[in-house]
């Protein structure tokens, strides 16, 4: 009964989305405010319906209702409750429901935080989001229904893939989807602006915070995915350039470019058409990711069970949504105009270069991801594109972008002077150059890449310090504290996010340059030393988990004769799918991670063991977290808080009327 209620709620949600996707947009086109006013209640109603459907599926999992096909396929009676609930998004059907659910959360958020927008704009934004959700609900109801019954019911379920039975599964997908789907807001803003023909600085001002929030979620989501791969897969790597990782990284790159381009549109009125295009790109790449994961066109560890019918549906959906938006763009964007002029050496110029580099990086990731498919489609053979390609193209593209990251925030809008910039930055440059050359030597190993990485990181930090100092010098207030307080949070947010990049670069550089790895056979009682740490293997013990049996190894780790920690890596065998999993043991630290994973059992209680010493690896994810915190700080800026409070002050009534007649 409960699953049928969920199914029914989905059908109702589809009906509501049809209403939401048609009446308000039509109303905005003809200036009928009654039709436009449908948008808000429809968006909220749809949210409640999808919430209901989501809870129904959650209930079926919690109650182990194996008469529901999806529940039987992705869970098991022995599976602990938290993983049964996470199994809601453990496979294709349920993760689509999560997608739609999160989309409806964003819609409700827009309906609440858009009171300061003109009604036509709000109606169009919610209408566009309604259209997107219509496509996805239709997809679920036609070929991917999570509520489908299994009659007669299965005695027990086939269980969730053991790889996914991990705390990461509980938070990583919702975070990632919050980011992915969050770009639908920026997308809807862009389409609404194109439809209305009101592509101006206010449009950019409104869509900036939404873009930043989505970007923060995506940053955390991607970082968590990377961290999860690091400790769960047992290979000690943190990024594999797998097609699905790329699928989440490409919207991130587009979103990062969009944030910067929107800043120009907001402050200077420039890059308008470009910002709109990036907003379309960011969401399109999210959709493309959805397609790549679910259609089976590429091989990946993440791929869902594939079904050509599903692939076809998403492809058609993709073609309609993206194709439609790009045609709309081609039709409307030429009228937008270009905004104020600027010289190449100016903040606009730097941000433009940043955008070009980010989009080039995005393009090269896209090319690398789809290249095997292109070749196969042209019958030129099967290849796979791996890390060597991505590393080769990515570093040269990012190096100048990072260099500009230091200069850009210090340059004036419109026209800056190169000699003046050079004077202001000479100390920052000198300090980073000297440290970057000397530091690796002091650590005992010098390679050009280590120095380059360190130099970029220190460059970001020192230029940020220069920027902050200049800002403080010009700020009002007598005390340092007062002057610090007068610096707007948006500026702090930018500094923090940039320094997050610096931390990230330090992490990557140090891990690549100094990590030590050893594969060896260890007998019971034997010791091995890497990176100054001595690991003593005390053998393994059998133990029984809720739905698996495991061999747990004990490693005593000591440094300079002092015991530092005891590590327990595991080798698990999950009962239902009879699959073995490696659970690495990690001893994290600010300056290094120790990482032990069990290979295969050998004779006499000996095991093949893999030991790693990974300096600074946690800085990679720490850096991402700092970037996201920077984003949060930026949207908590005073001007947004004011904007939420005062309603419709930005837009005088007269312009509103004028806009409606234009549209």
């Amino acid at each position: 009964m409960i699953p049928e209620i969920g199914h029914y709620a989905l059908i109702l949600a589809l009906c509501v989305s049809v209403v939401l996707g048609s009446l308000p947009i039509y109303g905005a086109a003809v200036g009928n405010s009654m039709l436009m006013s449908v948008a808000k209640p429809a968006a909220r109603g749809q949210f409640l319906l999808i919430l209901l459907a989501f809870c129904c599926l959650g209930y079926a999992f919690a109650e182990k209702d194996f008469s529901v096909l999806y529940v039987a396929a992705t869970s098991n009676s022995q599976l602990p409750l938290q993983y049964r609930l996470a199994a809601i998004w453990g496979a294709h059907e349920g993760s689509l429901l999560l997608w739609v659910f999160i989309l409806s959360i964003w819609m409700v958020a827009v309906s609440f935080f858009s009171t300061h927008l003109p009604e036509a704009m709000r109606a169009r934004i919610l209408g566009v989001m309604g259209l997107v959700s219509m496509g996805f609900i239709l997809f679920m109801l036609t070929v991917s229904n999570p509520f489908e019954r299994l009659i007669p019911a299965a005695l027990d379920g086939r269980d969730l893939n053991p790889l996914l039975q991990d705390p990461g599964m509980v938070i990583h997908p919702p975070m990632l989807y919050m980011g992915y789907v969050g770009f639908s807001v920026a997308f809807a803003f862009a389409i609404a602006a194109l439809l209305g023909g009101t592509l101006d600085a206010t449009w950019a001002r409104w869509s900036r915070p939404w873009t930043t929030v989505a970007w923060c979620f995506l940053t955390v989501g991607v970082a968590m995915g990377s961290g999860w791969a690091y400790y769960e897969l047992g290979w000690g790597g943190w990024w594999f350039w797998d097609p699905v990782e790329n699928a989440s990284f490409m919207p991130w790159l587009a979103g990062t470019a969009l944030i910067h381009s929107l800043a120009v549109t907001d402050k200077r009125g420039g890059f308008k058409a470009w910002s709109v295009l990036l907003a379309i790109f960011a969401f399109s790449l999210s959709l493309l990711g959805t397609f790549l994961v679910r259609s089976g066109v590429l091989t990946s560890v993440h791929a869902f069970a594939t079904d050509p019918k599903r692939g076809l549906f998403i492809l058609v959906f993709l073609a309609v949504v993206i194709g439609g938006s790009l045609i709309l763009y081609a039709w409307r964007a030429p009228r937008v105009g270009l905004g104020g002029g600027f010289t190449l050496v100016s903040r606009e110029g730097m941000l433009m270069a940043n955008n070009v580099l980010l989009v080039a990086a995005l393009g090269s990731v896209l090319l690398g991801t789809l290249y095997p498919l292109f070749l196969d489609a042209l019958d030129l053979g099967k290849i796979s594109v791996g890390p060597p390609y991505f590393d080769t193209v990515f570093v040269p593209l990012m190096t100048p972008a990072i260099f500009l990251m230091g200069i850009g925030p210090l340059a004036q809008w419109k026209k800056a002077s190169l000699p003046e910039l050079a004077t202001r930055l000479r100390w920052a440059f000198g300090v980073s150059l000297v440290t970057a050359l000397a530091l690796p030597l002091a650590m005992g190993q010098w390679t050009p890449l280590i120095s380059l990485g360190l130099m970029m990181a220190i460059w970001i930090v020192t230029t940020s310090a220069v920027g902050l100092r200049e800002r403080l010098a010009h700020a009002d207030g007598s005390s340092l504290l007062g002057r610090l307080a007068s610096v707007p949070r948006a500026y702090w947010g930018m500094l923090l996010a940039h320094c997050g990049v610096a931390l990230f670069i330090i992490g990557v550089t140090m891990v690549k340059g100094f990590e030590v790895e050893q594969d060896l056979r260890m007998n019971v009682g034997q010791t091995a030393t890497i990176g100054g740490y001595t690991f003593q293997f005390d053998g393994t013990q059998q133990y029984k988990g809720p739905n698996y049996i495991a061999a747990r190894g004990t490693f005593r780790v000591s440094q300079d004769g002092r015991e530092v920690t005891v590590m327990y890596p595991e080798k698990r065998r999950y009962n239902v799918q009879n699959q073995t999993m490696t659970e690495a043991a990690i001893s994290p630290g600010l300056l290094r991670d120790l990482y032990v994973s069990l290979g295969e059992p050998l004779d006499d209680g000996a095991w093949s063991v893999r030991l790693y010493h990974k300096p600074f690896i946690d800085w990679i994810w720490g850096g991402c977290l700092v970037m996201a915190v920077g984003g949060v700080l930026a949207i908590s800026d005073r001007r947004y808080r004011l904007a939420w409070r005062r309603k419709e002050v930005d837009v005088p009534a007269a312009t509103q009327v004028a806009r409606q007649t234009v549209s």
Partner: protein
């Protein structure tokens, strides 16, 4: 030409490729053994355990090697195709009974028909390892010199047979 149409143009091309991609299977991997000499084997025969089937006996003719097992579902699927091919007499199909028990294999052939002149028994799957078998059924086309020319992973279908295997076999037979 409107430069704002460029993104749309690029997108159309990408969608075209994605559409073609949907019809392809990225898991269909080319075997590194294609173009290499077929690994030698010498195994007892299924029907007459006293005799041995050796790959050396088959030199000088074009033949198919079909890995199958009574426990394998896909083998039942491709079986009518094999029977049909055997009746046409165009090319002999030698069977390799892979990780199977003798009784079940014999019963299976009795029930569904036997397309093979000789079936060899690879009870431990050692020969399967040499041939790089991913999973049964798999079919290899081997030429007169004993070189693998084609590998089919998964069940053989009539269209694959007509479009790929038979033209290849005829070409090899004429060499």
């Amino acid at each position: 030409m409107n430069r704002f149409l460029i993104p749309f143009g690029v997108f159309v091309v990408v969608v075209g490729f994605l559409a073609v991609g949907l019809t392809l299977n990225p898991r269909e991997l080319p075997s590194p053994l294609v173009g290499r000499p077929a690994p030698d084997f010498s195994l007892p025969q299924l029907h007459d355990q006293g005799k041995v089937l050796s790959s050396n006996d088959l030199k000088g003719k074009v033949w198919l090697l079909n890995f199958w097992a009574s426990w394998c579902g896909g083998c039942k699927e491709e079986h009518p195709v094999l029977i049909h091919l055997a009746q046409s007499g165009e090319v002999p199909i030698y069977g390799m009974d892979y990780k199977d028990t003798r009784e079940e294999a014999l019963a299976w052939l009795k029930q569904w028909g036997n397309p093979y002149p000789i079936v060899a028994v690879d009870a431990l799957g050692r020969v399967g390892i040499n041939y790089g078998v991913y999973g049964v059924p798999e079919t290899y086309v081997i030429d007169k010199a004993g070189v693998i020319r084609y590998k089919q992973i998964g069940p053989l279908r009539e269209d694959i047979l007509q479009e790929k295997i038979l033209p290849l076999v005829r070409e090899l037979q004429n060499q």
